[in-house]
């Protein structure tokens, strides 16, 4: 073995440590390179993750806003229902009152109407008696003559029957109105029973009579009826009348709003073996296709705020479909609006 000279040994040592240093640096460099690349990717991921999270936060904020808007709308709806219910409450109280008043008036009017027959008879008898007297005593004494002139007997003889007949007509009209009021505001509405649908339609028309008449802006609305044979139908009379009322008032509203020159409402009824059908058509502007499916939604209304609550058709739908298992349809075929009600007979 030869001794390695000290100088050479030192050099080898130095070389070795340089080599180590080199290896170490290479390792570090390789790792740093890997790290750098990964860091870059990780940063991209971070950015993507965070931006997505921010987006989600924004979305959930929007969703919350939307939700609170919905809640606000729901609150408004509830308020509207509340006021509607309050009105309904008042209406039903009014209904009871009207029914009571109608009942009270009905009796005296019946006396008047009933006694008018007798009054007519008595009057005719008296007039006959006067004629007989005049024939038997063509020359009355001056006292009688004065009285005849004073009371204008000839005019009286002519006018009295007319007065009587107009009184009878008036009393008859009072009787009709009273009867309609009673029919319409039936206090027995909770009761399910056999009714004549035509009677319901008629009484609704009587009540709406003043709205059908001509006004400064509108011509009188002509109502034509083609009633078929209808058996009695079991239902809640008060509610069904409410439906007629809602559909007819909408038709009147539409005709007046559009200022139709010859406004008309046609009411037709017929019956097949298992259901009764009532069709109410107007010659107004009709309902645009895009809102036809909305008219039965609660609170859907095209009328100005304060005028329509948008509950009329919704309630009608509920009454016909849910309470009576019938159908309430809008028929888009006609030029105006046509509503069809089907009610099952059993």
């Amino acid at each position: 073995m030869t001794e390695v000279p000290p100088k050479e040994k030192e050099l080898t040592e130095q070389l070795k440590s340089l080599d180590k240093e080199n290896r170490k640096l290479k390792k570090t460099l390789a790792r740093q390179e890997r790290n750098l690349e990964r860091l870059h990717q990780s940063r991209q991921m971070s950015e993507s993750l965070l931006s997505r999270a921010v987006q989600e936060a924004q979305q959930s904020e929007q969703a919350l806003q939307l939700r609170s808007q919905e809640l606000e709308k729901a609150l408004n709806d509830v308020r509207a229902i509340q006021s509607r219910l309050l009105t309904a409450d008042k209406m039903s109280a009014l209904g009871v009152l009207v029914a009571g008043v109608a009942h009270e008036i009905n009796n005296p009017v019946s006396f008047i109407y009933g006694n008018l027959e007798y009054a007519q008879q008595y009057m005719e008898d008296l007039l006959t008696l006067v004629s007989v007297y005049q024939t038997c005593y063509p020359k009355p004494n001056p006292e009688v003559k004065d009285c005849m002139d004073g009371i204008e007997l000839e005019f009286l003889k002519d006018d009295l029957p007319k007065v009587m007949s107009s009184m009878r007509m008036g009393a008859k009209r009072i009787k009709e109105i009273v009867l309609s009021l009673r029919t319409f505001s039936r206090t027995d509405e909770a009761e399910y029973k056999q009714i004549d649908l035509h009677t319901g339609l008629e009484s609704t028309l009587v009540i709406l009579g003043h709205r059908l008449k001509a006004s400064a802006d509108n011509a009188e609305i002509q109502v034509t009826k083609s009633y078929g044979e209808l058996p009695q139908v079991a239902c809640y009379a008060g509610q069904i009348n409410q439906v007629f009322m809602n559909i007819l008032s909408n038709a009147i509203d539409a005709l007046k709003e559009a200022k139709i020159e010859e406004p008309k409402i046609d009411i037709a009824t017929h019956c097949d073996n298992h259901r009764a059908t009532i069709t109410i058509a107007d010659n107004g502007p009709g309902i645009p296709a895009n809102i036809q499916e909305k008219i039965f939604d609660p609170f859907f209304s095209t009328k100005p705020v304060g005028k329509g609550t948008g509950l009329g058709m919704a309630l009608s739908y509920q009454i016909i479909v849910e309470k009576h298992h019938g159908q309430l349809l809008y028929d888009a075929a006609g030029p105006g609006a046509t509503f069809i009600i089907h009610l099952p007979l059993k």
Binding site: R38, Q44, A53, E56
Partner: protein
């Protein structure tokens, strides 16, 4: 008496590095003989040579160890291309090493094999079990459950999964003179005098929307919210491959407590994700995110928990097991974890530690051990 001696070298040459470590240790040991050792090594060293040198120096030593994703010790601080060895001496505590093999084939059998290889008549004396499973083999959780059932009730099982410097190709484990992979080395400590405490914390916070795992099989998640799992991640992370730093928070049933599951593998053919731990079907999950400050704050809390819970006066050694993803995200701030350890612990206390591919510890003292990800586990050991 219970003493830990740490040697740590940054020499790139295997021969020189282990020589430096053994010299250093021997000068500290005096005439004491170490019972056991824990070896942690970075990649690209000559491991058979290193374990052989240790064996020839201390023929009776009980040695386990593994490759790592970074090393730290009170000798050299935080390092990334180094080797360190901790030796344990005690006259009251006895220490035994064991090894289970082919972990991913049959984790239960591997756990049984590890226990059997301890050659202990009385398992009841075991007070602590350290484990260093392969970091890329499935089965750690099954093995943990099996170990827990074999050990005395409530024995803490603490450790970390071997790493390979964030390359996810192959990790190695050491047992006596052997270098293996797919292994489950364990080191058990027996003796009533042993005192210990631990802490666990992560710092990751849920960030994405909450989703439900709708199809999963153990470690593989196929569908989240009835979508392919990969799609759920990509919705957030873009087209990038999934990295360990965005783990899933998996929520315990109806609670806001969660554990983390990271992944480095996704299968673009089946659009499923292979996690480094089980993810149960029907679990509520969220993608998580952590900032540097959150990670550092959590490190403090882990160390503080261990300090507060230590049942004695003076621990003899601190063992820090941190997650590779923490090191990776912290970058240059990674050394702060170790610095915090120094700050909160007695300056004279020996510290050893490594960056792992998953951490193992009970959530609370006396509790069952869990497999964690993205956490820092702190273990304090001693007899005083």
């Amino acid at each position: 008496m219970f003493k830990a001696i740490v040697g740590h070298s940054t020499d790139v040459d295997s021969e020189d590095a282990i020589a430096e470590i053994l010299d250093h240790c021997q000068s500290q040991l005096g005439n004491q003989l170490p019972q056991a050792g824990l070896l942690f090594a970075a990649m690209n060293f000559d491991y058979p040579l290193i374990v052989k040198r240790i064996q020839t120096t201390f023929p009776d030593i009980q040695l386990i160890g593994c490759t790592t994703d970074g090393e730290m010790s009170s000798v050299q601080g935080f390092q990334e291309d180094s080797i360190h060895l901790t030796l344990f001496c005690s006259d009251t505590v006895t220490i035994h090493a064991g090894l289970g093999q082919t972990l991913s084939d049959d984790a239960q059998a591997a756990a049984n094999q590890a226990i059997d290889s301890l050659k202990l008549n009385n398992l009841q004396a075991i007070k602590l079990c350290l484990v260093l499973p392969d970091g890329l083999a499935d089965g750690t959780e099954v093995a943990l459950r099996q170990l827990q059932s074999k050990l005395p009730p409530n024995t803490p099982i603490i450790g970390g999964l071997a790493g390979d410097q964030y390359q996810f190709q192959k990790t190695l484990q050491f047992y006596q003179g052997e270098v293996v992979h797919n292994g489950l080395p364990i080191l058990v400590f027996c003796g009533d005098s042993l005192k210990l405490s631990h802490g666990v914390a992560s710092g990751w916070h849920p960030l994405s929307r909450t989703a439900i795992v709708t199809k999963a099989n153990r470690e593989i998640v196929h569908e989240i919210d009835h979508q392919p799992a990969v799609q759920f991640f990509q919705e957030y992370t873009g087209q990038q491959p999934i990295y360990g730093e965005y783990p899933l928070a998996v929520f315990e049933k109806d609670s806001d407590q969660f554990y983390l599951r990271a992944s480095n593998q996704w299968d673009l053919d089946t659009n499923s994700i292979h996690f480094m731990g089980e993810v149960p079907e029907q679990a509520k999950v969220q993608i998580t995110y952590a900032t540097h400050d959150q990670i550092i704050t959590a490190a403090k809390s882990s160390i503080q928990q261990a300090v507060d819970n230590y049942p004695g006066q003076q621990p003899a050694v601190a063992f820090l097991i941190s997650c590779a993803a923490r090191r990776w995200i912290l970058g240059v701030r990674a050394q702060e974890e170790y610095a915090l350890g120094k700050q909160f612990l007695d300056p004279a206390l020996p510290i050893m530690g490594f960056y792992a591919y998953g951490e193992i510890a009970p959530l609370k003292m006396q509790g069952q051990s869990f497999y964690h990800q993205e956490t820092l586990v702190t273990l304090l050991l001693g007899v005083d």
